[in-house]
Amino acid sequence: MKSTLSSAAISIATVAVARAAATAAPETERLLNSIRSKEDKVRCEAWQSAGGVGASALAPLAALMLDVDIEVARAARLAMEKIVHHAGRPAAASEARAVEAELVKLLRHDSPIIRRAVIWMLSEIASDDSIQPISALLADAQVREDARCALQRIPGDKSVTALRDAMRAAPEEFKYAIADSLRKRGQNVADYPTKKLIPTRSTQVQATPASSK
C-alpha cells in the first residue's frame, strides 16, 4: 500500500534512515530493518519489542514514519510510541529524560506529520525541559492546536505560564482555545469566553413537508 507523500519527502526520509542506520547500534539497526520488512508479522513483532531499544532509535524511526509504504510508516510510529510508553514507566526517570531529549529535537522536523505525533508523545512524559520547545510550536499554524493540548496536559506551573505568555502573541481566533486550556488548568481568564456552545455548521437537508406525512 502506497501513501501519497511527495517524492522529495520520501528521498529525504530514505537518506535520513540510511544515515541513521549506518551509525546506529546493532540493536537499533535490527529494529529498523524489521520495521522496514514487507512481512506483516515481522514488522508487528518489531514494534512491539521496541520499548527497550530506547531513545537512540527515535530519530531513525521518525524518518521511517514518512516511508512510502503506509504499513512501514505506521509500524515506525507504533515503535516510537512503544519506546515512550516503556520509558514512562515508574522509576525510570533517566530513560524518560533521554527519550524526552530526543523527542524535543524532532519537534523541529520538516514534516508536520512527525511534529504532531511527537508533540502527543511528549505530552505523556514531558518535564519542564520540553515546555519552551513545545510553546514555540504555538506559532506553527499546522500543529499549534496539538501544542496547546500538550501544554494543557503537562502538569506544573511552567506549562501554565507558557499558555499565559502565548495569550499575548497568539492570533486573535486562537486566543479562545488558549483561554480554554488555561481554564481547564484552573486559571481565571476574564476575556475570550468559550465558543463551545455556538453552532457553526448549517445543513442543506430540508425538513419533511407536512403534506408528505
Binding site: M1, K2, S3, T4, D40, K41, R43, C44, Q48, G51, I70, E71, R74, L78, H85, H86, G88, R89, P90, R116, W120, S123, E124, I125, E145, D146, R148, C149, A150, Q152, R153, I154, P155, Y176, A177, D180, S181, K184, T194, K195, K196, L197, I198, P199, T200, R201, S202, T203, Q204, V205, Q206, A207, T208, P209, A210, S211, S212, K213
Partner: protein, 443 residues
Amino acid sequence: MRYKNFRSISRRRFLGASAAALGGFTLLPSGVLAQPGRPGANDRIVVAHIGVGGMGNVHLSNMLQYQREGKVRIAAVCDVDESRLRAAVKTAGAGVEPYRDYRYILQRKDIDAVLIATPDHWHGVQTVHACESGKHVYVEKPSSVTIEEGNAMVAAARANKVAVQVGAQGRTGKGAWYTCRAIRNGIVGQVRSVECWHYANPVDDKPVPDSDPPASLDWDMWLGPLPWRRFNARYCPGVFRWFLESGGGQIRDRGAHQFSTILWCMNADKQTSFTVQAKGTPPSKGLWDCPVDMEVVYQFKDPDWTLVWGQPGNKVGKTEFGQVFRGANGSLILEWEGAYRGAEPDAINFKLPPGGQEVYRTAEYEDFNMNHKADWFKSIREGHLRPAVDIEIAHHTATLCILGNISYILGRKLVWDGQNQRVVGDEQANRLLSRPQRYPYVL
C-alpha cells in the same frame, strides 16, 4: 393539553396532580422539573436525536413508538453525515427539523431531552453540553473515552439537575434481573470470580491511503474533539469502534454492557478501587489498533473478587459473548448482557430465601430497548433523576473499560484509586486519564 399558571402551584403538587390526572403516564418537560415554575411546551416530553446511524436508528424507532403512544414528540434529528440525516428526517416525519450541528438543538428551549448515539469520542462533550443546556440525556455506552470526561459528565448532570441514562440495557433487562437477584441471594454462594468471554476485535485487512472525505460527510465535525488528521475510509462509519482513541474495541463496547451488569449483580457500584493488568495481541497490519485478542484481570478488595475480560476467553456459554459467575457453591452463566438474551433456568426459577434481598427493575415494556428508555423517562417523571444506569454508575463501568485499555497500551499493571480518580504511582498513566480536546469541541 397545555399547562397554565405553573407559577401558582408547587413542583411537588404539580408532579402529584399530573401523575394522578394522567394515570402516571405523562412525561414532564425537563424545563419544568429542572426549574419549577417554567412552563413546558405541552405535556409530552420533546426529544431530539443526535447521531442517527447504527444505534441512533434504534433510538429513533423507539421514540416514534413513544410518539405514537402520545408520550413524546420528536422535534429534531442531527447528523454530520447528510445522507444519514436525509434518511432520518424522512423516517421521523413532518415537523422534525434536521441539523448538522447538534448545538442548534441545544439552543432550542422547546427541546427537553436528547438521545446521543454518536461515535464514542463525542459522548462526553455532547453530554456535558446538553446538561449545561438543561436537557435530559440518553447517551450510548460507553459513556466516555477518558476518565476526565466521565467525571465531567457526572458533575454536569448533578449541577444542572438533569437525568443522564447510559444505554447499557442490562440493568433494566429481564435476564440480568433474574441473574442479579439469584447471585445477590447466594445461588452460587459468595462469588470469587466473574469471567467474561467475547470474540476478537477485527483486523483492518483492507487498509487504504488517506483521502478526501465523501461530499456528504462533515469530517471536521466527525472528528470533533480528536486531534486533526486527514480522512481515511477506515475510520467511519461504524468502524471507529476499532480505534483505541475512539471506540476502544470490544472491551469498551460490549465490556460496557457486561461490566455494568456484573457490577449490578455483584452489588459492587461502590467498589471503585481495583488493580488492572492487561495483555493483548495487536493487529499485524492496517489502521485499526485495538488488540485482536485480549485478557484483562481486575482484582477487587473487601470483598475480594476477580473480574476477567477474556477475548476470546473461556467460552462456557452458548452465544458470542457472556460471563460466568463462579462461587463457593457452583457457577451461573449469563449470556450477553442479560437484556438481549434471557437468564439461565436456574436463575429464573430461583426462589428468594426468607429475608432475601429483592432487586428493583423498571418493567414497563417487554422490548429491552423500549424498557430502558421507560426507566429514563420514569426518573424524569418521578423527579429523582437517577435512572438505572445513571451516569455515575456508567462512569464506574467505563472506568474499568478505559483502564483496561490503558494497561494494555502501557504494558503494565495499574493500581486504581477510585476515591481520588488517580492511578497510584504512575505519572504517565495519570496523564492518559484525559486527552485534551480540539477546540471548540471541548468539555
